[in-house]
Amino acid sequence: MKAVISVIGKDTVGILAAVSTVCAEANANVQDVTQSILGDIFAMIMVVDISKCNLELSELRARLETLGQERGLQINLMHEDIFNSMHRI
């Protein structure tokens, strides 16, 4: 079971570390990261394995959103099933 975390916002030091820390605390294993910086806008997509996650997905989402608010970033977490069902036949 995987989930996709997306982070969009102004580029600052330590975004990747902060998001990874929240994931690590929840025992969600980061499997893939793609990031790009356009001007000073930071955009990151992270795929995490949540099969051994020790939190409910909604709780992990809430923690990431709190982190987002603290750092002025827009952070989303969504179950991969959604993308698979919407974009793959």
């Binding site: 893939d32 409910e56 997905l57 179950h79 959604i82 919407m86």
Partner: protein, 451 residues
């Protein structure tokens, strides 16, 4: 691997374009609750609904949490109550109060099925139930009622049509102190679907299993946003884009429905792939029509644009789901759609144009307010016209019309929430009284020689 663009597109759909699951509706058969004693019958109903739907709201919220998709409503539809009333007799409003109590206990916002199917005539319980509708809708706030008065195979029961005009008026009068909210929960159908998850017309048909989960998806905002990004393109391209978008929306409904069915241990019924608007800005079917290229909804060309939209939504959705049903298409409820409200206010959208639009889209004259002095005969005649469109075209049509007691054309009714606000529309006052008074039945139409 899913691409970054696909991920961002999905997030945008949910966060900015109001993509949501409009409703998870549990259909529950009450046939085994029928009893010759009405109080015992009510007790059995309460037990069955509160047992079957005990976890409905909880599971809905869990799925919302897991996928991050808003599920706006959790609802219940039940066997048409007229069938139970036929067995029990007694005061039908007892059933209404029982259903209201069930809805409060399990925490759903609407429960549908205070219904009677009388397309060919009145069976035991039908007439008593219909006559009790104004009182039932006055003493409850979560109960929804519907009456099927016609079908392609049976024709139109004009005695029922005449009665429903009176019932709608009476229901409005009974709730005049609450912006005539009564008739906003009362639908008069021709060719009513038995697996519709959308209120106010949902009921659990007799051909359905004991308990089943239906899902209604939404997403006018997503379709409009997709169209607004399109540069140029002819109508073939437009139809194609709508099809692709409807596919994605419906896939999400399918995912949620399958998950809910698994979690509740109840078979999955259908996905209703309707474009259901809300009064929120950006969630409007009228705005899709305007995006296609009309100055305002109601202009000449509206019917053609809507026909294309409705068909493309179905084509896209059918492939995305294992079972499509319900009303499936585009909804055009005037009070629940910001673009329709504007068009009705400005006088661009008239009742007659809406009637034409209902010939090519799902449902019918929906959430329309008319002046308070509109007679029961005129209401009946509006129902008859709409039912005739459904009967002849082998499609579902419905009327949910609200006579605004004490108000006149140009004023508005405020329902709030998903029901929105309804500008009172102009009505043709020429009298249909003699025709309506005739009663009887309009025979079923010929199914060949289609011209």
């Amino acid at each position: 691997m899913i691409s970054t663009n696909e991920i961002l597109e999905t997030i945008k759909m949910i966060q900015e374009e109001s993509l949501d699951i409009r409703t998870i509706t549990m259909g529950i058969s009450l046939l085994d609750c029928a009893d010759s004693d009405i109080d015992r019958s009510c007790e059995k109903i309460y037990q069955k609904i509160t047992t079957r739907a005990r976890d409905l709201v909880k599971v809905g919220e869990e799925i919302e949490g897991k996928y991050g998709i808003p599920i706006i409503n959790k609802r219940i539809s039940v066997t048409p109550i007229a069938m139970l009333l036929g067995a029990s007799g007694g005061d039908p409003v007892k059933y209404a109060r029982t259903l209201q109590r069930c809805a409060e206990t399990v925490g759903v916002n609407f429960i549908g099925g205070y219904s009677a199917l009388v397309q060919k005539g009145f069976g035991p319980g039908d007439l008593e139930l219909i006559e009790s509708i104004p009182e039932a809708l006055r003493v409850t706030d979560r109960l929804c009622s519907s009456v099927n008065i016609g079908s392609t195979k049976a024709g139109i029961n004009m005695d029922a049509v005449r009665l429903m005009g009176q019932i709608i008026r009476q229901s409005a009068e009974n709730t005049a102190d609450r912006d005539c909210v009564g008739p906003s929960k009362l639908v008069v159908f021709c060719n009513a679907p038995e697996d519709n998850p959308f209120m106010a017309g949902a009921f659990h048909g007799v051909g359905e299993p004991d308990c089943v989960i239906h899902v209604g998806v939404s997403g006018p905002g997503v379709v409009r946003a997709a169209l607004s990004k399109m540069e140029g393109g002819d109508l073939t391209d437009v139809a194609d884009l709508i099809k692709k978008t409807a596919f994605k929306i419906t896939r999400m409904g399918q995912l949620v429905g399958a998950e809910a069915s698994r979690a509740l241990g109840v078979p999955f019924g259908i996905v209703d792939l309707s474009l259901a608007p809300t009064p929120a800005v950006g969630d409007s079917v009228a705005h899709i029509l305007e995006e296609i290229g009309l100055e305002q909804c109601g202009a000449h060309g509206t019917t053609a644009a809507l026909a294309m939209l409705n068909d493309a939504v179905k084509k896209g959705g059918v492939m995305a789901s294992s079972a499509v049903g319900g009303l499936s298409g585009a909804f055009i409820p005037v009070s629940e759609d910001a673009g329709m409200i504007d068009a009705a206010r400005s006088g661009c959208l008239l009742l007659e144009k809406l009637e034409a639009m209902t010939a090519v889209c799902s449902v019918g004259l929906d959430m329309i307010a008319v002046p308070g002095d509109t007679s029961a005969d005129i209401l009946s005649a509006i129902i008859a016209d709409e039912a005739a469109i459904g009967m002849v075209n082998s499609k579902t049509t419905a009327v949910r019309i609200i006579p605004a007691i004490g108000k006149k054309e140009g004023e508005e009714l405020e329902f709030g929430g998903l029901f929105g606000s309804a500008p009172i529309m102009k009505v043709n006052y020429a009298s249909p009284a003699k025709m309506i008074a005739r009663g009887g039945r309009i025979p079923a139409p010929l199914q060949s020689l289609k011209n």
